[in-house]
Subunit: 416 residues, 2 copies
C-alpha cells in the first residue's frame, strides 16, 4: 500500500476508521492531517452524516465534508465472509484502528481487542463510546446533545431565569475526536518504545467531565452547582453581551480601573458611586441590577459608535459576530485557515484547516472528502486483490465501488 | 534533572511552561499527564488563576488546581539578569517550551524563536495567542468569552428570541490547550524523525474556527448563519429539553418511529395526525408550535414518571442534570475518572483525570497542583546551583521559594 505524500509525522502509518457521525471521523481526520493514510470503512449506506439534512453544497453534505478530508473511502460489509477477510487483511498491518460503532457491535462481529491484538500486536485500537467503557450505562448508545444534558452542561447554559440551553457546537463529539487523537499519539509513542500497541478507550461522557473540570472539583469541595448566567461570567460584573441600538457588543471589565473607563465611555460616570456598583464584589451581588442599568445606557449608542468609544477608552470588547460575519472577517482571512480544497461535486469547496501552524505553515490538504467508495478499488488492489476478485467481492455484496450503491435519504439531522 | 516516575510515553522529556490562566496550563498538564517533567515558571505573584475568586477549597483556588497537577512550580523573574540565566539554563536542554504570555512579551524579553532555536535546535516551541500569529489583531490580548463573541459562538447560543449567551465552559481556552498538546506531540514525532524542533503556533480564534467548522463551510456555501435554538437541534424536532412538573428532561426523536413512541409515552397519540406534526420536516417548520405543545404535555408528568415511560418506550432521553448530580452519578462514579490527589492544603482533593484509558488504566496522578514556588529549590539544584547561589538568586529577586512571596488578592474572576 503506497503511503500518501504528506509531510506530517504520521507519514507511512495506516489508520483504519470504522466510523460514522462526528467523533471518530473528526479524530481520524486529525490523524490524516498529520500525514497518516486514513482508510474510512463505510457501510453501503455510508456515514450517517452523508444523509444529514440541508444545508448541503451542490448536493454534498456539509457535515460530511467537515470531518472527512485527507481520507480514502472503501465501502465494505465485514459481516459477509469475503468482506470480513478484506477487513482482516486491512488490519493485519495497520497501525491504528478507530471505531465508534454501537458499544459491543464490532466485538460481536468477531473483532474483539483480544482478537485484534493477536492478529496484529502493533495495532493501536481506539474505541469510542457514549457513556464510557464500564458502568451501568456502558452499553447505551449516546449522542452529543443527550450527553450535554446528562453531564450538566445544558443545565449551565442559557439565560438566568430562562430555559436550559444546548451548546450549539459539538463540543463532546469533536472534543472526543481530539482526545482520541491525543490518546493515539500517546499510544503510538509508547509503541515506538515497547513495540506493542494498546487498547485506547475514550467517550463522550469522559470528555464532558473534562470540560466541567472546575465545577466538578467545586462539587467535590461542596460548592453549589453553577447556575445559568446568560452571557455573563461568574466572578466578574460587567462581563458579557450588552445591547446597542443595532446589535450586541461584548464587554469585559476585569478590574475597577477598566470599569471606570467603561463608565466614562458610555457617559455614565454617575454610576461609579451608586450603591451596588462600587466594587466588583458589589456588582457580582447586584448582577441583574448592574447589567440592566448598563444595558439601558449602552443601548443609547449605535454599535459603531460604542465600539469606537470602548476602543478609545481601552476597554476590552468584541462584536457579537454571526458566522457569516466571521467568514468575511479581516482577521480570520489573515489567518489563512479557511482553505480551498477542490471536490468533484463542489469545485469551490473551502474547508477549515487544523488550528495550528508548524514553522508558519498549516498542514497540507491532500485529498477532498471522498465520495462513497471512491477508493474501494485502489485499496483492494493495494491489498493484492485482482480485478476479477474485486468484481466477485462486489457481486457478493462485500464491497462497493462508487455508484454501486446510492446513498438513501435517511436521518434528516444536521450538525448545528 | 531527574525524570519523574510516570509510565507515560513522554517520560524523560522536559517541558518548560511559562503560562497563566487556562490554555497553556491545561496544555502543559496534558503533557505532564503523559509523563513529561513539566516545570511551570511563575511570576512572583503566581498564575492569575491562583487569585481567581471563590469558590476555593481550604483557601486553594479551584481554577488553579483544575489545570496544574503533575507539574513543578518555580518562581522566576527572567527579566532580572540572574533570573534570565536560569531560564536560559532551563531551556538549553528542554524538549518543549509552552507560553501564553501577551503577544510579543517573551520575544521582547529576548526569547525570540530565532534565539531559542539557536540556543537549543531540538526545542519545540509552542506559542499560544488570542487572535493568531498574523493579521491586524495579532498583537491584541484576548480572553475566552470575548473570543466566543468574536467567533460567532455567542450569537448561536441561547434561546430563540432571547439574548445571546456564552458557552459556560472554557471551550476556547481548554480547546487550545488540547490543540497545543496535539501539535506538540506532532512536533516531537517530527523531531524524532529529523532531529530538529519547530515553532508551533495555536490560538483561541483558530480553535474557535474549528468548533464552528460546519457553519463556516455553510457560510462558504452561501447559507445563512445559524440562529439561536435554545436546547433545540437544527434539523430534528423534537430534540431538546422539555419541562416536567419537577425538572427538565432531554428527549431525542431522531425518526418518525421514535416520535410515535414518544407520543404514546406521553398519552398524546392524538398529535400524530395533527397538521404540522406529521413528518420531521413539518415539525422543523413548526418548531415553536410543536415544542410548546409537547412541553405542555410533558409537564403533566413528574420527572421520574416520564423517565420510566420513555425508557419503557425506547425513546432516547436524559435527565438535565446539574453538576452536583453529575458528581454523585452512578455512571460517573463507575468510570473512576474522578480521583483522589492529596494536596498539602486540601487533603481530600479530587481531580478529573485525562479522559482516556490505556489497556483499561488511566494515566497516573503523581503530583498535586504545586503551591507557588514549591519546587524552586529542587529545580535550581538540579541545574547545578549551590545553596549559596540559590540564596543569592532569592536576594536578587530573581527566584522565590514558597512563602518568599505571598499571593496578592487580584483579579477576582472564577472559571465558570
Amino acid at each position: 500500500m503506497t503511503a500518501p505524500q504528506h509531510p506530517g509525522s504520521l507519514r507511512g502509518l495506516r489508520v483504519i476508521e470504522i466510523s460514522t457521525s462526528v467523533a471518530a471521523p473528526f479524530g481520524g481526520q486529525i490523524l490524516g492531517d498529520l500525514g497518516a493514510e486514513v482508510i474510512k470503512v463505510e457501510r453501503p449506506a455510508g456515514d450517517d452524516t452523508r444523509h444529514w439534512a440541508p444545508p448541503a453544497w451542490h448536493g454534498e453534505s456539509i457535515a460530511f465534508m467537515s470531518f472527512n478530508r485527507n481520507k480514502k473511502s472503501i465501502v465494505l460489509d465485514y459481516k459477509t465472509e469475503s468482506g470480513r477477510a478484506v477487513l482482516v487483511d486491512l488490519l493485519r498491518d495497520a497501525d491504528v484502528l478507530i471505531q465508534n460503532l454501537r458499544p459491543g457491535a464490532l466485538a460481536k462481529a468477531g473483532f474483539t481487542w483480544e482478537y485484534l491484538h493477536e492478529l496484529n500486536p502493533r495495532l493501536v485500537y481506539c474505541e469510542m463510546s457514549g457513556y464510557g467503557h464500564q458502568g451501568p450505562r456502558a452499553q447505551q448508545p449516546a449522542y452529543d446533545p443527550l450527553l450535554q444534558a446528562y453531564s450538566g452542561i445544558v443545565s449551565m447554559t442559557g439565560e438566568d431565569g430562562g430555559e436550559p440551553s444546548r451548546v450549539p457546537v459539538s463540543l463532546l463529539d469533536m472534543g472526543t475526536g481530539m482526545w482520541m487523537a491525543i490518546s493515539a499519539l500517546e499510544a503510538l509513542r509508547r509503541r515506538d518504545q515497547t513495540g506493542v500497541g494498546c487498547h485506547v478507550q475514550n467517550s463522550l461522557l469522559q470528555t464532558a467531565l473534562t470540560w466541567i473540570t472546575s465545577p466538578l472539583i467545586g462539587a467535590a469541595a461542596g460548592n453549589p452547582p453553577p447556575t445559568r448566567l446568560g452571557s455573563g461570567f461568574r466572578g466578574v460584573v460587567p462581563y458579557g453581551a450588552f445591547p446597542t441600538s443595532d446589535g450586541h457588543i461584548f464587554v469585559s471589565a476585569g478590574n475597577n480601573d477598566i470599569f471606570h473607563r467603561l463608565l466614562g465611555a458610555i457617559d455614565s460616570l454617575d454610576l461609579a458611586g451608586r450603591e451596588g456598583f462600587a466594587t466588583n464584589p458589589d456588582r457580582v451581588r447586584n448582577r441583574r441590577l448592574v447589567q440592566d442599568t448598563l444595558g439601558e445606557r449602552t443601548s443609547r449608542f449605535t454599535l459603531a459608535a460604542l465600539t469606537a468609544r470602548l476602543a478609545a477608552a481601552g476597554v476590552p470588547h468584541s462584536p457579537v459576530n454571526t458566522v457569516d460575519m466571521v467568514y468575511e472577517d479581516e482577521q480570520v482571512r489573515a489567518l489563512g485557515m479557511l482553505q480551498a480544497l477542490p471536490h468533484a461535486q463542489v469545485a469551490d469547496l473551502e474547508v477549515v484547516n487544523l488550528p495550528a501552524t508548524f514553522d508558519g505553515e498549516y498542514v497540507p490538504l491532500t485529498k477532498a472528502p471522498p465520495c462513497l467508495g471512491e477508493d474501494t478499488v485502489e485499496v483492494l488492489r493495494a491489498l493484492g486483490r485482482t480485478d476479477d476478485e474485486i468484481d466477485a467481492l462486489v457481486d457478493d455484496g462485500a464491497v462497493a465501488r462508487p455508484f454501486d450503491t446510492a446513498p438513501s435519504p435517511a436521518f434528516p439531522a444536521v450538525l448545528a
